[in-house]
Symmetry: C2
Subunit: 345 residues, 2 copies
């Protein structure tokens, strides 16, 4: 191979080109372009001018290799299609705004093996941080995370042991508290509709919390449906119809998701049921996009954006943990009773 940077080796502009065009050493050009170290105003001007003229764009690959610093943050989520995940991503993005960090997104499609692959792929870029959904991962994935050599934030769940840091709400607690809320309003015959397709530990934890709260009052779930596939209004309608048909005396319908809940709500209103009175209903997530339904569906705000923001703060080093402190940041979801529960007793 010919000498270093032969001539226009790859059609790519290099520091050397700027150096030659400006008559300043590569090193000083580099300093100017990174705003690093002291450079005389005159030299700086010359360099900037040359860079602009040439249309030079630095090569981060080379920079990253040389400096061992990469401004990428790996974000690994189950899916882009389920609204909740883009919302977390939006929070991350928002908080990273001030920094020079960029998110790189990978989807696992709820498949642990796929998660392993994506994680491996991402880690091979030596990112400055990893944000990954959930606390449940394969052995191999946990090992990779543990050896990532960068902050690792497991998000959207705090019911378990994080590899490094966890940020999110306690889904168990969310279920538990909604259970208490339901009971406090005098409902006793409760039907629950939840997704399984999420592969989702979080929905399961909510259910466990719910059952615990009910159990403490001697109540058991009167009926339940597990569904897979997309959560939408139609699914909520269909399930609600099925459940109300087969179990006659239900007085509360709890959905694992606001969208199915909203579908159920519309259905019940059409049926002329006394929603918010004899029949209580609640969903989960707090999707603001639903505001404007005929009734405001009771729900638990699951702090998605906030979770993303907090995760990003940690990656960006804007959150310092005291040594020995709990490395789980539990966000507190709020229950909004909306119009679909009767007043507390």
């Amino acid at each position: 191979m010919a000498g270093r940077n032969g001539d226009e080796r790859r059609g790519q502009l290099t520091l050397r080109d700027v150096s030659e065009a400006s008559g300043v050493s590569e090193m000083t050009v580099s300093r100017v372009l990174r705003n690093q170290g002291d450079v005389s105003a005159k030299t700086r001007e010359k360099v900037l001018e040359a860079a602009r003229m040439l249309g030079y764009v630095p090569n981060k690959i080379a920079g990253a290799l040389a400096s061992n610093r990469v401004n990428l943050v790996a974000v690994i989520i189950p899916s882009m299609s389920n609204m909740v995940f883009p919302e977390v991503l939006a929070g991350i993005n928002e908080q990273l705004e001030g920094t020079d960090l960029q998110p790189v997104v990978g989807a696992t499609y709820y498949d642990p093996e796929k998660e392993e692959k994506v994680l491996y792929e991402m880690l091979s870029w030596r990112p400055s941080g990893v944000v990954i959904a959930g606390l449940e991962h394969s052995e191999a994935s946990r090992a990779m995370l543990a050896n990532a050599g960068c902050p690792v934030v497991e998000v959207m769940d705090v019911d378990g042991e994080p590899v490094d840091v966890a940020v999110g709400i306690s889904h168990w607690r969310a279920g538990y508290e909604m259970g208490q809320e339901i009971l406090s309003r005098g409902y006793r015959r409760i039907g629950f509709m939840t997704t399984t397709s999420e592969g989702d530990h979080r929905a399961r934890k909510r259910m466990e919390g719910l059952e615990r709260a009910l159990g403490e009052a001697g109540v058991t779930l009167a009926d339940q449906i597990f569904y897979s596939g997309n959560s939408g209004f139609a699914k909520g309608r269909e399930m609600t119809n099925e459940m109300l048909t087969r179990t006659k005396d239900l007085d509360f319908l709890y959905y694992s998701n606001d969208l199915t809940g909203a579908g159920g709500l519309l259905y019940c209103l059409e049926q002329g049921l006394d929603v918010g009175g004899d029949l209580g209903m609640a969903g989960f997530n707090g999707f603001t996009l639903l505001e404007g339904l005929p009734r405001v569906l009771a729900t638990t705000e699951s702090c998605r954006r906030e979770t993303g923001i907090e995760a990003a703060r940690i990656i960006a080093g804007q959150h310092v943990f005291e040594p020995g402190a709990d490395r789980r940041i539990e966000l507190k979801p709020t229950i909004r009773a909306g119009d679909t529960m009767r007043p507390k007793l």
Copy 2:
């Protein structure tokens, strides 16, 4: 500085470590790990074993620099909060699945300056492709795109000149066709509600197409509202109320977005209006999540996922353009009349 790779220079496992542990040359180790070239089964096994034992993760930064190949695809969209963009991203992600390409996402928040910054940032990683929303960019951005040295796909719009390739629907045509559809069903007093916050050229183009269709029949818009901020049910309700109050004889309401349309739909139903009869309504996008509303809102399916898929195919080199062929891939949106338009005359 000490000799090359002194000892555990950065606490990072290198090819050399695997080489030493397996007694095979670095080069061959590299071949095995990349599944490239012929390596004897025995050697391969030794290497794989050593790599696994050590927990070696290749450094893509170094690989990319050496090979001048980067498996990253830059995806630049206005926002993560507006459902349409994550949906395009989902399509990209899906199609990239089979390849070794990974999307890197950046948000511009509808700000051309921000777009420039994000683009610069992304390009400095020398990605294998760029997918960017829209055809309208600053001079500087267009220059960067033109010199990106990789496929550049401008998505979600084909009404204009792409730098390289464009994929998406024609919004002008979408508006035009909906206009014709509306007229064909005998509606004449049309109110239009559209967002401005998108900074959005696309909504504007739809409106222009709509006005053209109406104009050809000698009809002009009876009323219109431009709003900014989030599109949700609540906004749709509010605007609909306002418009129906101030303009009495409207017979059709056209929304720039399904969500506001759905809000309007719920409102009109509550008001006891003859939706789908004397009063027609339509939205835009074809959000499947809305299926299950009391009525199916008429809409134009805007092919978001398909756009992402097609863009990814181009980046991945799975779509070959004939030389001289039009480098705009116009996807054909379909109008779904739903339940909110009366039959054609």
